[in-house]
């Protein structure tokens, strides 16, 4: 299926990039501006609005792929997929009605289903993009398997626009499972983590796990036979469908009550079996333990009074040296990154109130010197004049 597409929007974007380059000015790329909160602040002379470049270029449901312009609203694309009984398997968060496909790919954020199906990055098949020289380039393709040249399309996922402007993306889609149920179990954090690990080691059609406030929510999707078999194995109390859907949307969109304040919110990505006491005081655990969210009063290192905290046998000794809990009993933000790193993961300051000071080394965990050098050289390779989204990533 092919829409009638406005043919003037791509040249308009290309023209703006050429003009900025000629003028020696810098650009902040944006779509629907729903994820402006994410990443470091951009220093730019002007904005490049990609939300004008919209429309579905190709969608043939039996090909399990869709090609759309980057400015197309995510909600419109998801509605189109749903009409054909399909969906994005990575359940992307929108963070606002104006969210676009380009923003979804540039931010690279996936929702509750990510560990059980795919990430945005897994599903991206190809991109059409502009580099810093204003050249339009196509990488990857619209087919499932493609090893012709470097995988530069997946490199764009999560790059937050620092390498170039996304014009079109081709994404793998999957059939929507015929049915789904959500089960709730009362469990403390440690036992919930143990349960999630046990089930993740079995071939079960789980599509979401969320532990908060002493309750483990489990979502399962599949055929009638698969649902009843899985429910028998998992146990727990089923939740009414509408209530369950609302809950998972709230998890995905961070509209749960625990997100509704101005505290700094940390996204901690760790190996799923990381013990509960290695990352203490979490609000929400997702992804069978691989994603944990916690909040701090302040986002930066406070240097405030520190009191020791007891750990179980699983704690890593490197963690202790950096362990900090302030007098109010809150986690000191400066402790979170060492905790995450010791567990084999990383921590991102995901959101913070506008007045909250950011960590001096940025919201993303620092990179090793070799990897940082590769980042700088890749930036140079795509955007030699430093046009796009300066400072957003590092």
């Amino acid at each position: 299926m092919v829409e009638h597409l406005d043919t003037t929007t791509e040249p308009a974007i290309v023209e703006q990039v050429h003009a900025a380059r000629a003028a020696g000015s810098t650009l902040a790329i944006h779509g629907g501006k729903t994820k402006d909160f994410y990443g470091n602040p951009v220093q730019a002379d002007a904005e490049l609005d990609c939300s004008i470049h919209r429309g579905v270029i190709a969608y043939e449901p039996t090909e399990l792929a869709i090609t759309v312009r980057a400015g197309t609203p995510l909600a419109e694309v998801e509605a189109l997929l749903a009409e054909h009984g399909q969906e994005f398997p990575f359940e992307p968060p929108h963070f606002g009605e104006r969210a676009t496909i380009g923003g979804m790919v540039a931010a690279g954020l996936s929702g509750p289903r990510r560990p059980y199906a795919a990430s945005v990055r897994d599903a991206v098949l190809g991109v059409r993009m502009l580099n810093g020289k204003g050249e339009v380039m196509d990488f990857g393709g619209r087919v499932m398997k493609n090893v012709a040249g470097y995988d530069l399309s997946r490199l764009m996922v999560g790059a937050l626009g620092v390498l170039g402007v996304l014009l079109e993306v081709s994404i793998k889609v999957m059939p929507r499972p015929p049915g789904r149920i959500t089960l709730i179990q009362e469990q403390d954090q440690a036992s919930a983590l143990a349960s999630m690990q046990r089930w993740a080691g079995q071939a079960l059609p789980i599509t979401g796990t969320a532990w908060l406030c002493g309750r483990l929510h489990l979502r399962v999707a599949g055929s009638e036979e698969a649902l009843s078999e899985t429910q028998r194995i998992l146990g727990g109390t089923p939740v009414a469908a509408a209530e369950a859907d609302a809950f998972w949307t709230a998890v995905r969109e961070q509209r749960l009550e625990c997100f509704a304040d101005e505290q700094a919110l940390w996204r901690v990505s760790v190996p799923p079996a990381t013990a509960a006491d290695v990352i203490p005081d979490v609000e929400l655990i997702e992804w069978s333990g691989a994603l944990r969210w916690l909040k701090t009063e302040l986002a930066g290192v406070t240097g405030s009074a520190v009191k020791p905290r007891r750990y179980g046998a699983s704690a890593v000794s490197a963690v202790r040296a950096n362990d900090r809990i302030n007098d109010a009993g809150d986690v000191d933000a400066g402790a979170i990154r060492p905790w995450a790193a010791a567990a084999g993961g990383h921590a991102t300051l995901f959101r913070a109130g506008a007045s909250t000071p950011r960590p001096s080394d940025g919201v993303f965990a620092p990179l090793s010197p070799v990897v940082m050098r590769l980042h700088q050289r890749l930036k140079q390779a795509f955007d030699p004049d430093g046009l796009f989204n300066l400072g957003r990533l590092y």
Partner: protein, 494 residues
């Protein structure tokens, strides 16, 4: 036949041999003609070149020292795993070091709780699944050469297998890589967590054909084994109908674990070779494997059976037991050696096309085949749209090799024309450099070279592979197999 595609001027520096002997035990530096001979090609034996020297390090520190040495002397380095690659990605350079990772063959750690395993790059693909089987886990990508190919090579090529549609390629099934840079520094990309900060260098490294760094450790993701797998074998009297049946199954919301097609010449060759019980009069067969819960699989098998019959299948058989299921697969996996038995030579192509183009593309291939006068047998990862036409020819007949190459080039260009790609899973290597010129324009190729230079400014890592120079753009190239000269001919492939 030996074709050397490398365009670089040779710059031999024999002193690298004596320097290597200072870093490694004597038995780990090979430099005599007899010692070098086994390394002169990988699984694509049409291209042969002996390296200046072969180095066989066994520690990461030794790899770092070798890279530091080669960087200082500006000697090119080609990394090699098991040497089963099909596009010449591990073809040595006459003035280069061939860095064999064969001694990196240990499984370092299995982490059942996190469902991951840390393995050295020389570990065989199948050895991973065997080692983790006691935990009820397996490593999903299963290239047909999995009994021999190494995980490091799988990462370098982003290898697939017959279960890609449901379980993904190598890029979807690895978590972390430890690499040595061209300068000899050690670094990691990815994490044991599901994501890592910064640019997705893990994705970039996967399928980069040894051009960006030397892989010294791979952390793979493991999956729990499904309760049951079941396979169906459907016969069709036309390839179009078989292609339409594929669309029917996927359109019905079913994602099979494997979905493979063979046309009549491929069916006949495979049946004569392994007696899989294939219907030799069918124009095409589909093999469809479903996995999951026992009850779920039973229902899906019935649904797929109805869909296949509705799409015009003349016969649909369900495997009576696991032995029969494996027999269905045996013919498919042996299709290439089977074709090798009936034709003195064959060319294998590796294009991927949108599935809906299958009928038109196969018809066009048949037309091209008739025009040139060379037979073509087709096997097809139908679920993924990955087509492997085998062009049958005899290199002893003057002109047939050139005709086969010309036909192969036309087929790959056809794949690009209908919206596909010149290589789905075998890589570019040296073999498809020309087709890369068909698929990518000047700006795109220049961008790829800039990415290469970001990792390897002096161009010492596997130079001349994967991305053609701008002045190279010519017409064709394809996997060339001469008189059973495919290495490890006993291995099932693709």
């Amino acid at each position: 036949m030996s074709r050397i595609p490398d365009e670089r001027p040779l710059n031999p520096k024999p002193e690298v041999i004596s320097e290597l002997r200072r870093l490694l035990p004597a038995a780990s530096v090979l430099a005599t003609e007899a010692e070098l001979a086994p390394y002169e090609c990988d699984g694509l034996s049409a291209f042969q070149q002996r390296p200046l020297v072969v180095a066989l390090p066994e520690t990461v520190e030794q790899v770092q020292q070798i890279m530091q040495l080669c960087h200082r002397l500006e000697v090119p380095v080609v990394a090699r795993g098991a040497g089963t690659g099909l596009s010449g990605g591990a073809l040595p350079l006459a003035d280069g070091v061939l860095l064999s990772l064969a001694k990196f063959n240990r499984i370092i750690a299995i982490d059942p709780a996190n469902r991951s395993a840390r393995v050295q790059p020389g570990v065989r693909n199948l050895a991973i699944s065997e080692a983790v089987a006691p935990h009820g886990l397996y490593y999903a990508p299963d290239p047909s050469s999995q009994i021999a190919c190494s995980i490091g090579g799988n990462v370098a090529e982003n290898s697939g297998g017959v279960h890609c549609l449901k379980y993904g390629l190598t890029v979807h099934n690895i978590l972390k890589l430890t690499l040595v840079s061209v300068e000899g520094e050690l670094f990691e990309v990815g994490a044991e967590a599901l994501d890592s900060p910064g640019l997705d260098l893990l994705a970039l490294m996967t399928g980069s054909e040894g051009m960006l760094g030397i892989i010294v450790e791979v952390t793979v993701k493991l999956l729990p084994k499904p309760e049951r797998a079941q396979a169906l074998l459907a016969s069709f009297d036309s390839v179009e109908r078989a292609g339409a049946a594929v669309a029917e199954i996927i359109g019905a919301g079913i994602i099979p674990a494997g979905l493979e097609m063979m046309d009549n010449p491929a069916i006949r060759a495979a049946e004569a070779f392994v007696h899989a019980g294939y219907p030799v009069d069918a124009a095409a067969i589909l093999i469809c494997e479903l996995d999951g819960f026992n009850a779920e699989v039973s229902v899906d098998v019935m649904r797929v059976r109805e869909l296949l019959l509705g799409a015009g299948a003349t016969d649909v058989r369900t495997a009576a037991d696991d032995a029969e299921r494996l027999r269905f697969w045996k013919g498919r996996k042996a299709a290439f050696p089977a074709v090798g038995r009936i034709s003195p030579d064959y060319y294998c192509m590796d294009g991927t096309i949108p599935r809906r183009q299958l009928g038109p593309v196969l018809n066009r291939i048949a037309e091209l085949s008739a025009e040139v006068g060379l037979a073509v047998a087709n096997v097809f990862h139908a679920g993924d749209g990955n087509l492997h036409p085998l062009i049958l020819y005899d290199a002893n007949n003057p002109g047939e090799l050139e005709q086969a190459e010309s036909l192969g080039g036309a087929i790959l260009e056809l794949c690009v024309e209908v919206g596909g790609t010149v290589t789905g899973e075998h890589g570019v290597g040296v073999e498809k450099l020309n087709q890369m010129c068909v698929q990518f324009n000047r700006a795109e190729l220049t961008q790829m070279h800039a990415v290469k230079a970001a990792f390897d400014p002096k161009g010492l890592l596997n130079p001349g592979k994967a991305v053609p120079t701008l002045h190279r753009c010519a017409e064709f190239g394809a996997m060339h197999v001469h008189h059973g000269a495919l290495k490890f001919p006993e291995l099932p492939r693709f």
